[in-house]
Amino acid sequence: MGKLYDLLKEDYRVKEGLNTCINCGTCTAICPAAEFYRYDPRKIVDTVQRGDDDEIEALLKSDTIWYCGECLSCLTRCPRKNGPGLVIMALRNLSAKLGYFVESEKGRQLFPLTRIMTGNILKYGYCIHPDTFSWEDHVESGPVWKWHTEHLEDSYARQGANFRGKGPGILREIPKESLDELQRIFDVTGATERIGTIEKCSEAKAKEMGMTLDEYYRYTFEYSSDDHFNND
């Protein structure tokens, strides 16, 4: 067994999620991602349990580990009580930590995702916020949402929200001392370091691809090549 395998085995999600897979394929049969993408969680779990570092490194640099939607439907149905979804989460964590994510198209999406999610948490205290959920980037939210975003203060007031207000309530402004605590949690638990790794590796990849970081952000957020899908 190799170094990458040992790193994976330290993750409690692998400890809990991999108890000798019998390759029955139930996880693949139930998986929403496997129906849409060229994706087979059974093969991923099998690769990990073989423990071959070259194979695991190839996996960490591939699109494959980023197809899962983390619905965790696989946990319910596995007859061996494995959690392929948990193994995927551990693989993604290692790929991010080691900077391997920039080697695949779907992995590179970690750059916009990290900016959106961690940016929202540290600025607003929540993962989603109206200030960063633009209608232009979410046209599927429909004309009703376009109208809502054009009348944000009035619409949220009508809904009973405490939008940007003090005290408790819906979409309140989170007190500064609480946001400072979240920042310190990020600092002591490795999230700040992780953000730094994602930024640094993405910056280098953008340069390699001949893009500014802003162009790279839009590209990774919007571009999808045609070779991911089952029906192509």
Binding site: D11, Y12, E16, E35, F36, W66, C68, G69, C71, L72, S73, L75, T76, M89, A96, Q109, L110, T114, I116, M117, I121, Y126, C127, I128, P130, E140, S141, G142, V144, K146, W147, H148, H151, D154, Y156, R158, Q159, G160, K166, G167, G169, I170, L171, R172, I174, P175, S178, E181, L182, R184, I185, D187, V188, T189, G190, A191, R194, F221, E222, S224
Partner: protein, 356 residues
């Protein structure tokens, strides 16, 4: 026999839900898209049922979406959750209720992991102290807010002004229930009815007069998939899974859908609009869609609240055909008004699906 078998399974998966005194935490998604549902939850618990539900301004996200988008390490999400528990402890509560399904799954996963690996819990306690100088007790009871509405479903039925019944025919409405994946798929014993036969929404539907529809893809994910929605390039995954569910439920002619997850009603509502725009296909009657509701919206409707106080104007799929079917009165001209009937214009109408 099959029905009795299901009843036996349900009885194996009943959870203890205390009557009163809850510490409440809000949801990232619901605050944005279904704010009035969170308002209605507090209204029902406090003013209809007379319960003590406490909220503190200092609580935040649990970090669940960021965690499932793989953007923060597990130690980070655990320490954010530990801080939430510390706020509950400081406020003197021991029952913890989350508005979000992914939060509920996240809290459950973390508590179970700490039980299995006490050294990890000790490490997180140290990290929380280092970052925030806070300590915490773990909740005695953990619930999702739909668990509470389920528990009090019969009290709500007793106070109801309407039932989920077609006022013209007297027939029960045909209701699809959709349970968020993270409610019980990870830890079946933590959800009412388990993962295979969750009863949390079915119980509400039955108490309030409707008929539950069973259909082949009943347990299929709505298609959120975290990074599969938040990254624009991946949204084909999301709409494809919603499409699969609607194709599967269509032959059963549902009158409505009820959900308990923050994201699911948004995706099941909005992707109907997109499917109609892309393919001209609608799943409801006469060119309408199938309206999708949160459980608080449905509770509010049967209790007789004004549909626009429930936030139903923020749905893209028109709710009026269902309101008419039940016999709930509403003012069409007030649908898109602001506070005190302030004129804030109206949304454009989509071309593929009928709306008002």
């Amino acid at each position: 026999m099959i029905y009795q078998g299901k009843q036996n399974i349900w009885s194996d998966y009943q959870k203890e839900i205390p009557d009163d005194h809850w510490y409440y935490v809000r949801s990232c998604i619901r605050q944005n898209f279904f704010p009035a549902s969170e308002k209605m939850f507090m209204e029902i618990c406090r003013n209809v049922l007379g319960k003590d539900i406490y909220e503190n301004e200092h609580h935040t996200t649990c970090g669940g979406i960021a965690y499932h988008c793989d953007t923060i390490p597990q130690e980070t999400v655990m320490t954010i959750v530990a801080r939430q528990f510390a706020l509950m402890t400081e406020a003197g509560y021991e029952n913890y209720v989350a508005s979000c399904i992914t939060s509920f799954g996240n809290y459950t996963e973390i508590l179970e992991t700490w039980n299995e690996y006490p050294e990890l819990e000790a490490k997180i306690r140290e990290l929380l102290w280092k970052a925030c100088r806070k300590e915490f007790r773990k909740p005695k009871h953990l619930a999702h807010s739909s668990d509470l509405i389920y528990k009090f479903r019969n009290e709500i039925a007793e106070k109801a002004k309407f039932r989920l019944v077609n006022k013209e025919t007297g027939e029960p409405l045909r209701v699809v229930e959709h349970i968020g994946c993270h409610y019980a798929k990870m830890f079946p014993s933590k959800g009412v009815g388990g993962a295979e036969y969750p009863y949390v929404l079915a119980g509400m539907i039955e108490s309030w007069g409707g008929n539950v529809i069973d259909y082949p893809e009943r347990r299929h994910c709505c298609g959120y998939g975290f990074r599969q929605y938040h990254v624009k390039a991946n949204r084909g995954y999301s709409i494809s899974n919603t499409h699969k569910k609607f194709e599967s439920m269509e032959p059963y002619k549902p009158d409505m859908i009820i959900t308990n997850c923050p994201g699911c009603p948004y995706f099941l509502d909005r992707w109907q609009y997109v499917i109609a725009e892309m393919e001209g296909k609608t799943y409801g009657e006469n060119g309408f869609g199938i309206p999708v509701f949160t459980y608080e919206e449905v509770a509010g409707m049967v209790l007789g609240y004004d549909p626009w106080d429930l936030g139903l104007q923020l749905h893209q799929v028109a709710v009026e055909p269902l309101l008419d079917k039940i016999g709930i009165e509403y003012s069409p001209e007030d649908k898109y008004k602001g506070l005190n009937k302030k004129d804030i214009m109206k949304p454009e109408l989509p071309s593929g699906i009928r709306c008002f």
